[in-house]
Symmetry: C2
């Protein structure tokens, strides 16, 4: 198989289909989504059988790798978990597609149409980006989810899932294409890269002519690798090193609740707090209580020298700790001299994902809100809220830690852009 | 001089200054702009003297190059024209800076703040991008203009002008830094790359850590070259191959006016029409009149076979012609079978800059508006209106032919992004 030629062909077909998708009516798109959801429910057993083939292959490969290279058993279990499709998982996948059908159609919205002194009327119209490349890892449900988001936003999609899920992805993609055709839309509007050859990824991220944006959905390892080679713009999501800062006027109860929720509700999510900053004035009051709570929950504390004089069981934090997204029951803690130091520390060490202040002081809160350069900045709320559903986007294609195009949780709107529209009546420029 | 180290230092200083700029008040930024405008007016003679040094060096170099390589005299004259700063040019530069001071401050605007079922309030805040790299060619006035736009939008700027303008740019940059300091803002908020070594450009467009976006202001040659090497996102502007489509229900008077204005008002601008599409049903009625007008204005017509049966003096158009931005008194003309062919032709051959339809038919007009995939799409108006000032942006840093981040004319808002802000009262996620 000539991968370069194969990917060019997918790209050309996607571009052609994207023209049709861009002018598809809301009813056509919703009919396709409804048909896809119904097909997924109908073919549950077929999907589970396809998934069983992937699981079997992964188990065999895992055993091989385990024998060959002493592969980490826990990592292996996590991969199997992401790869597994259950009957309930299939239902959730169908329900997810159905919910996307019910979201408002972002396409065609015209805003800010205003008369200009020249007599023309100028404004903006929201339109699809065109062709979206989605690159993801083991989870097969991303195939249905990403396809549905692209379809609703009028974009054609090229999906490149993990090779370990190829049978599951193939089965899901067939149902997506069936749904498109039922609604009278081109099957090529959603295409799966049907090869496990990794060269296909290299082609996809450099197909400037046919692909308008790449959305990687996976760990930061994947994204860092893509970033180095991509020639197509990417909605990138690197790490989530999130901070909670307890200011001098922090309400102790809110501080405790928020740190507990931000750090311990889930350890593996990107909006989990990884670092706690405490103002010197209140460190002696707040840190013992918070240290106790964290220790009781089994969270390891790595603190600055001052923290360690207050929290006896804190281990020393290194410079590296303050840059680290642990994704584990570990937290770094630093005592700071005030708001200026807190903001400077966050702007230096944060990954610009989500950072929160706890304070009752309005002026301090508003300064933090403005001056912290992160995609989500919060006052008296847990960093765990940084999420497309919590923000009311209805769905989330990813979280961008970049500043260009989309920042923070990205919903349907992030898969669109605005063009300018001009209404005249024979107007010419003088 | 170690260019890599020099550019790293500029980058670090810009990043540090950008933190201060991001929190600068509107009054501080406007005070700096007002001081810069005053300094430019005050030092008019100094600026003209610096410019005279550049002109002298360019003349000497031009003579050398002319003798050595038979350099095109017209090209040479165009370069000298762009490089020359007149007394009136200096006044205009100062006036431009003053006008930017008077624009509304885009920074800090909060929108769409809404309560969510969880009890938090979520919305967006407009913030600067951070550090903007501007790469431009001979025109020294860009130094003041770009600095003022970055400053007003709260961004630090690194300016890399053409080496032939280095004395002029140095003199202008010194006045910008004076104005910043008068207003109590860091001089490093606007830095000029003070070397003619071209390696500096290569460094600037790969300084991901310190530069958030590159705005090239110059010809498409410059941009294509940068695009190949850039690792920093770029607000790119490639060519402007703009179309006017005369639909079957085009009003003949409006058609004539619009084609005349779009093609002949100015030949060298990116929003000039380069290609005319005419519906077969009305070609025999409209083309003779339009051909006559174009010929009278000295515009060369390159037409399809059908065009040539109607317009006697039309030369044959090649496939290449339909892709070409002439920037000259030449136009390609094609007779098409209807709206579908017109839209398909434009989406294939256009540079996605600006395309217009002339028609009295509402349904056809609205289909064109939606389905043409260009940054500006117009009904019954000249493509020449595609411009930041005509659109009411107050100023223009460039025109983007890209779909990501900014599309079409880019004003102050294109130098900003929106972060999410969350207001809670001790809220945690359940």
């Amino acid at each position: 198989m000539d991968i370069k030629h194969y990917m060019q062909t997918l790209g050309q077909q996607a571009r052609a289909a994207s023209r049709r998708l861009a002018r598809a009516s809301t009813a056509e798109k919703d009919a396709a989504l409804t048909a896809i959801a119904a097909a997924i429910r109908r073919d549950k057993e077929i999907l589970l059988a396809a998934n069983a083939r992937d699981l079997e292959a992964a188990r065999a490969a895992g055993l091989d790798a385990g024998l060959d290279a002493g592969l980490d058993a826990a990592l292996d279990a996590a991969l199997m978990d992401r790869l597994t499709l259950t009957a309930k998982g299939v239902d959730n996948m169908a329900e997810g597609v159905r919910q996307i059908a019910q979201l408002a159609d972002p396409i065609g919205e015209m805003t800010d149409i205003r008369f200009r002194p020249s007599g023309i009327q100028v404004g903006k119209m929201r339109v699809p980006l065109g062709v979206i490349g989605i690159i993801y890892e083991a989870r097969p449900n991303v195939t249905a989810d990403a396809a549905a988001l692209c379809l609703k936003s009028g974009n054609a999609a090229i999906l490149r899932g993990g090779s370990e899920a190829i049978h599951s992805n193939r089965a899901i993609a067939a149902l997506v294409q069936e749904g498109l055709q039922i609604a009278g839309l081109p099957a090529e509007a959603v295409q799966m890269v049907d090869t496990t050859d990794r060269a296909a990824v290299g082609e996809l991220i450099t197909l400037r002519e046919y692909v308008d944006v790449i959305v990687p959905r996976g760990g930061k390892g994947l994204i860092a690798r893509l970033l180095a080679e991509a020639r197509v713009p990417m909605i990138q999501h690197l790490d989530g090193n999130c901070h909670v800062y307890l200011e001098t006027e922090a309400d102790p109860n809110k501080a405790l609740r928020i740190v507990e929720n931000a750090k311990t509700q889930r350890y593996g999510t990107c909006n989990t707090a990884e670092s706690l900053l405490v103002d010197r004035e209140v460190a002696k009051m707040l840190l013992p209580m918070i240290g106790h709570m964290l220790t009781a929950k089994g969270v390891e504390i790595r603190g600055c020298e001052e923290t360690r004089t207050i929290v006896a069981n804190a281990r020393p934090a290194t410079e590296e700790d303050y840059y680290t997204e642990y994704l584990a029951p570990v937290i770094s803690v630093k005592v700071v001299a005030g708001l200026d130091e807190a903001i400077a520390h966050i702007n230096q060490y944060s990954s610009h994902h989500t950072d929160a202040i706890v304070t009752e002081n309005h002026t301090q809160a508003m300064r933090f809100l403005r001056e912290v350069d992160s995609s989500s900045v919060m006052i008296n709320a847990s960093t765990r809220f940084a999420d497309g559903f919590e923000y009311g986007l209805g769905a989330e294609i990813g979280i961008s830690t970049d500043k260009i195009h989309a920042r923070g949780p990205v919903g349907l709107e992030g898969l669109t852009c605005q063009k300018w529209v001009v209404f005249g009546n024979g107007h010419v420029r003088s």
